[in-house]
């Protein structure tokens, strides 16, 4: 049986018609063709599908789409504003954090979830925040450095033209 559900993805309202078992991840990838969130394990272990739900990091593969009616989802596609990378993206890019890149959207969203809650997060909190994200190139250190650089204000938002 399919049921209607509406929620927001990157600020835009979407209406879907889905089965109870449909995950937010499969909706994003198959219905809206936003493939930024990756399907790694589909078990909630790898973190490559991490998105923000009302500003909090969650694993999209574990979220039944019907349960988030009216809520706001931000995917990696929603981070850049007017084509301008957000500070985390800019830091990841300039500091060479991604290697193969598969896990990168998940790391970005997990890190953004942390900064939403605490823009001054310390090393321990950063490590904790990305503990649910696996990088098979094992490039954790550069991710941590890049997030620390953003916390330190090296990629501040003032560069973004709000116009």
């Amino acid at each position: 049986m399919k049921y209607p559900v509406s929620f927001y993805i990157n600020g835009v309202q979407y209406d879907f018609y889905v089965t109870p078992a449909t995950s937010l991840l499969s909706l994003l990838r198959k219905d809206t063709h936003m493939t930024g969130a990756k399907e790694g394990c589909n078990q909630g272990d790898c973190g490559s599908c991490t998105v923000l739900l009302d500003g909090m990091a969650v694993k999209a593969c574990l979220v039944p789409a019907l349960t988030i009616a009216g809520r706001h989802v931000i995917t990696v596609e929603g981070l850049a504003v007017n084509g301008k990378l957000n500070p985390l993206q800019q830091a990841f890019y300039e500091m060479g954090a991604p290697q193969c890149g598969y896990c990168t959207p998940g790391f970005l969203m997990a890190a953004q979830g942390l900064l939403n809650k605490n823009p001054k997060a310390g090393h321990e909190e950063i490590v904790e925040a990305i503990s649910g994200n696996l990088c098979r190139c094992t490039g954790y250190y550069k991710y941590i450095q890049a997030i620390e650089a953003v916390v330190a204000g090296k990629f501040a938002k003032e560069e973004v033209d709000d116009g």
Binding site: M1, K2, Y3, T19, P20, A21, S23, N42, Q43, G44, D45, G47, T50, L53, M56, A57, V58, K59, C61, L62, V63, P64, L66, T67, A69, A110, G113, L114, E128, A129, S131, G132, N133
Partner: protein
């Protein structure tokens, strides 16, 4: 795979009515973090998913000498709650060691105990805190100690038409500790998890609670070791002796995380460390 049906009651009354109507056909869904992996794998196709996230059971409040935690309160909300940090720090510590941030943002305390996993990390703190579980059906409410809640893996004393509404923690002075050993720090199920609580008056143990996870078909209390400690002067040696007795209660199995052999030897070590940590006996680096 069957597509299944979905219900999202908008109040507790409505939820109880739905459960009464569906009985065994209903699978209650809250944070979904334990159900979705099985659904995604295709090993579980629930006939009806009943989502209880909108039934007003989220929140933490104080009532006289109790802390009341709503069943759908998320693990993150518990981790960040100052009332729990102050009066039940063993629960805060346990939650902080569960899964990772993005799972804790969704997973609920009610879901964690209703899954009745022997490794449920909120179970041992709730056992040592003498938590009570409030359960409702259309026929009414019952409240009982959490020790009576768990039967065996996946099985609780809940009837099909019932759901947990609240978890009730008594507030009274004590010292406590939670320790967990897993294959790494985050996002793992425990190999052995231990919670202890001691009521210590002038060095004499007035009350002891020891609970272990992942060493039996359900999270267990170590009543013999608790009785052994009670009334005695708490010393490091006594902690060791109590831990050996507690270890006797461990009836572990081999699984993907560790062997029974290892768990059997690990359990008393973890209990001893937890007791000493609760008492502040030594600052040694312990594996958590």
């Amino acid at each position: 795979m069957k597509e299944g049906f979905y219900e999202a009651p908008q109040s507790l009354d409505e939820a109880l009515e739905v459960l009464d109507r569906l009985q065994e056909k209903a699978t209650i869904l809250a944070g979904a973090t334990d159900i979705m992996p099985r659904i995604n794998d295709g090993v579980f196709s629930p006939e009806y998913l009943v989502y209880i996230g909108n039934t007003g059971l989220t929140g933490i409040r104080r009532e006289k000498d109790s802390i009341i935690i709503g069943a759908t309160t998320t693990l993150t909300q518990i981790e960040e709650n100052s009332l729990i940090a102050q009066h039940a720090p063993v629960l805060t510590e346990a939650v902080r060691n569960m899964a990772g941030v993005s799972i804790r943002n969704m997973g609920t305390i009610g879901g964690n105990i209703c899954n009745a996993s022997p490794a449920a990390d909120t179970a041992t703190p709730l056992l040592v805190l003498d938590a009570e579980v409030a359960v409702m059906s259309r026929r009414g409410k019952r409240i009982f100690p959490i020790d009576e809640f768990f039967y065996c893996p996946g099985k609780t004393c809940l009837n099909p038409n019932e759901m947990i509404t609240e978890i009730i923690l008594p507030i009274k002075p004590h010292c406590s500790a939670f320790l967990k050993l897993g294959q790494r720090k985050a996002e793992v199920l425990s190999i052995v998890g231990v919670s202890v609580k001691l009521v210590n008056e002038n060095g004499i143990c007035k009350e002891a609670r020891i609970a272990m996870g992942s060493v039996a078909p359900r999270p267990i209390r170590c009543c013999k070791a608790e009785a052994f400690l009670t009334g005695k002067e708490i010393t490091p040696i006594l902690c060791h002796e109590a831990a050996v007795i507690a270890g006797g209660a461990a009836k572990p199995i081999d699984d993907g995380r560790a062997t029974a052999w290892y768990r059997k030897r690990l359990a008393p070590v973890m209990v001893e460390r937890a007791l000493k940590k609760a008492m502040g006996f030594e600052e040694e680096e312990t594996a958590t």
